[in-house]
Amino acid sequence: MSYKRYHIETKTAPLENAQIFKTIVNRADFCINCGICQTACPYDVHERNPDYRSIKGSGVRGQGSEKENTSSFVPHPSPLTPHPFSWIDLPQMASPKNANCTTCFHCVNECPVGALSLAANPDYKTHGDDYYQTQKVEAILFEAKTGRVPVSGAGYRGPFAGKGFDGIWTDMSEIVRPTRDGIHGREWISTAVYLGRRPKRLALNGKTQAAPRCRELGVPIIFNQAPPPVNDPELTAILLEAAQAVGTLAIVEGTSWPAGWASPPAIPSFNEKTWLRAPETNPGLLELDFCDIYPEDWLGLLKEAKTRWPQTIIIIKVPLDPKLAYSLVRFAEEGVDAIHLAATPQGTTKEGEHLTSTVKTIDETLVDHGIRDEISIIVSGGIAAADHLPKLILCGADMVAIDVACLIALGITKFSTERGALKLQGPLMIPPKTLGVQRIKNLVGSWRDQLLEILGAMGMRDVVRITGDTGRMMLHEDLDKEFRALFPKPPNNWDPTYG
């Protein structure tokens, strides 16, 4: 058996219609077609359009018809035109390629007649919504396109802090132990996690111990079913193939479970309506969706499932709710292998409490009852950026299940997730399968690399070591409280515009 390091194959996978740009360059009608902007721009925003020629010699924009004359140089008839190049009949400047623009203002400054201007793109804000903000959508599209870690210069440029994920900073270690290299070190940082039940200790009483019901995944990311109304077999096929390729799993609607998969990367999911159509044979992994059932009935169903599929890794999906923490302890004791905590697409409980604090509460309750290490916790809903992954793991999740992020990676950027429901604007356009699979692979590869950055900064070599390690994160809430205590309270009539 040869040793092989876990690796995600990434390669550029551009998607034509998935381009978002912040600014647009406007070319006014009085552009003299001199081409100075073309030399000024290092990023090829301004180029000539060889098929689109000015009316010969006039310098006026218009569709030319004399393609055969492309090499002719005709003097400009008007001596008043100021620019020295204007006697050359060059192809017309094409409309600016806004996607390349980096807002450096070079073309605006160098245009001799002031025909160019920049403005904020009105379309920019229409991608995503107030939770999946355009910057996040933009980052996911970049990650899915290139598989690289987004890098930029000149410091952080966003808001100071926010609620939930934005109120967490992860720790770093100034000097690390001799055995631990940083991110560029020789030592391997592992992102492998286990899904399922692990026995607390080896049984040494002579009895044969049952093999642990768990599965190793290369990354702490699995794919979740897209929230309703999205239910598309093409999407499922893409997610299954991507899951296979990166060594992870995809949760799929149970009734459409593809029995053809030899070693399924699929986790079939059944709810109370589809329960009876579940396969008799051992599916390996199974998710029971309890989100629409009263908690009192959960235990009975779980017991029934345990007797029906004794060898199967059983995951129960429950709504994210801190009040359910004690029930979850009971399930863990009754033999459930993994718990899937489903938040709303905006990353909150139904009451609007944020994901991070709730996951922390549930994790702490399970730890207090001494059962946390035996089961896995999957968290889904509202995972919209690479930094959410390490932060949720620090809060106590073993892995995350991503859904809307996959849709964005596939170029679906116009939607809203208000009031807990996904609403698409326009039809669902799923890209061709190979392209789609590559984009999902790129996304996972990029998020994994970013997870490595966080782990490297902490001097940790194993992602399982930081699960629930709340000491390695700094909360804005705590720091701000301590900080605020330093200052006196301003008097009521005090003017904040002076000072």
């Binding site: 980096t102 870690v149 210069g153 440029r157 301003p490």
Partner: protein, 509 residues
């Protein structure tokens, strides 16, 4: 050599000359656009009304010239100068004042368009822009420095005379220990490390010239010591990091301060990384590396695993640089930043340089910039208090960096407990950085700042850049003095740790 050090140590309070230094291509992007409709009868009432000279007649005629947009303070004029508001003064309602879209396309919540434009104004003219033109005290990040306000003793409409400002001292002693040379810088800030390769030689030279003019320092960053910088060697800090790029005993011997970079704010715990495209043959020669390969300066120092190791490290620097040298430890801001600072002190350093997570000048992964380590605002009081409790606060100089944008941020950082600041981004904004954030792209910065591409770098001449930075420093020092004057303080030392002079607003205020 020692005589030279002594002589520069005693000269302070220089008055470098400021002069107008416009950008050769940069047109001013005004905040407001003023326009005349066809109703205009060229009566000229607006010319009389506007104190900012926005409206002017064409010379020698009665016709109105195109409005000078850059002076306009916008619709707030109506409440501030009700008798001078041209829109209301015009008898034919022929004047429109609208926001300029181009201006709004600049900047981000931390460096708002107003902040950028005010820094450019300072770099061009050497003085602050007119009051009301820009909101230049704070940004819009909604936290940290942007929520802090001074509780000034003087009233808003009081103005300091130039003598008032001259009497205020803003110089800073960098060495408070019993050993090493005594170095006093004339302004309470110095330039942060930007390496040859991450920025162009012209920018390095410009910063060094400005540092000399203002009797302060600039840092080489981790990319070697280009020989062009030797005339300014008394104003240059040599930075040493794990890659040891271009570090030679001779250059370390030239330095008056050696900075050990344990971690940096923008990518704490990740080390340095020069992308392959920016490693041009010149850069590679300096770094003794192969051209066009990615150069890593890996985290961490494998010679430093404890405070004892750190002490050995500092001793090594002192052996290399002579007994007069000062050693600075640049560290990032993890949870235990206070313990790290105390460890640095016991290792024998003179300066502890805290680099907060929101700063950084070169390219860094977005995830690291936003999420790893805490912002500098929270770290300063933590460290200040801990050093005080340990009884060692007055033996060490605490320098803060990472998101310090202007004189207000500096004053706030000092009021929180720092002795001085390090600025980096502000310097490069002065040489016309628009913060487009493309420092990492192939050929690098299209303004010739964060690039070693000859075609781009020729846009900046060292002399012009130096003049811009000198102008900026002049404006910053005037602002800082005015803040101290408004607080009723006489020196920057009196401000240290005075967080009782600050208010911290709620998010919604």
């Amino acid at each position: 050599m020692d005589n030279l050090r002594q002589s520069t140590a005693t000269t302070h309070n220089p008055q470098p000359t400021t002069s107008h230094a416009p950008h050769h291509a940069w047109k001013k992007i005004s905040k407001w656009r003023v326009g005349y409709t066809n109703n205009c009868i060229d009566c000229g009432l607006c010319v009389l009304a506007c104190p900012y000279g926005v409206h002017q007649r064409l010379p020698g005629t009665l016709k109105m010239a195109a409005p000078k947009n850059s002076g306009c303070i916008g619709p707030q004029c109506e409440s501030i100068l009700p008798d001078n508001y041209c829109v209301k003064q015009c008898p034919y309602d022929a004047i429109t004042v609208t926001p300029n879209e181009e201006f709004e396309a600049l900047g981000d919540p931390r460096y708002t368009p107003d902040l950028l434009a005010s820094l450019w104004h300072m770099a061009e003219y050497g003085e602050a822009p007119p009051e009301h033109l820009y909101e230049r005290r704070i940004g819009k990040s909604g936290g940290g420095f942007d929520l802090m306000r001074f509780n000034f003793k003087r009233l808003r409409n009081e103005r300091p005379t130039s003598r008032d400002l001259d009497n205020i001292s803003i110089s800073l002693d960098l060495n408070r220990r019993a050993y090493g040379s005594k170095i006093k810088i004339s302004v309470p800030w110095y330039g942060g490390g930007m390496s040859y390769g991450s920025v162009s030689l012209s920018v390095m030279l410009a910063r060094a010239m400005a540092a000399k003019a203002w009797n302060t320092f600039t840092s080489t960053g981790e990319g070697g010591y280009p020989k062009e910088l030797t005339p300014y060697k008394d104003y240059i800090i040599t930075q040493i990091a794990t890659g040891m790029f271009g570090v030679r005993e001779e250059t370390a011997g030239w330095a008056k301060i050696i900075e050990i970079k344990y971690a940096q704010g923008a990518k704490p715990g990740l080390g340095g990384h020069l992308l392959s495209d920016k490693n041009t043959p010149d850069v590679a020669r300096m770094r003794e590396a192969v051209p066009y390969t990615s150069l890593f300066s890996p985290f961490p120092f494998h010679s430093v695993y404890s405070v004892e190791d750190h002490k050995k490290h500092v001793d090594w620097m002192m052996t290399m640089g002579g007994s007069k040298i000062l050693v600075s430890a640049k560290v990032s801001t993890p949870t235990d930043v206070d313990m790290v600072a105390v460890g640095c002190y016991y290792g024998g350093v003179h300066i502890i340089h805290l680099d907060g997570s929101y700063g950084g000048t070169g390219a860094a992964p977005d995830i690291a910039k936003k999420n790893i380590a805490m912002p500098i605002e929270y770290a300063i009081p933590k460290v200040h208090r801990f050093l005080n409790e340990e009884g060692i606060r007055d033996e060490i100089t605490l320098i803060a960096s990472g998101g310090i944008r202007n004189a207000w941020d500096m004053a706030k950082a000092i009021a929180l407990g720092a002795d001085g600041c390090v600025i980096g981004t502000t310097d490069i904004v002065a040489v016309n950085c628009t913060r487009c954030g493309n420092c990492e792209k192939g050929r690098g910065c299209q303004h010739g700042i964060a690039s070693t591409d000859p075609e781009f770098t020729e846009q900046i001449s060292p002399e012009w850049g130096a003049q811009r930075i000198i102008n900026l420093y002049n404006a910053l020092s005037l602002d800082l003095k005015e803040i101290l004057w408004r607080l009723g303080l006489n020196s920057i030392q009196e401000l240290r740790g005075r967080h009782d002079l600050l208010y911290y607003l709620n998010d919604h205020q």
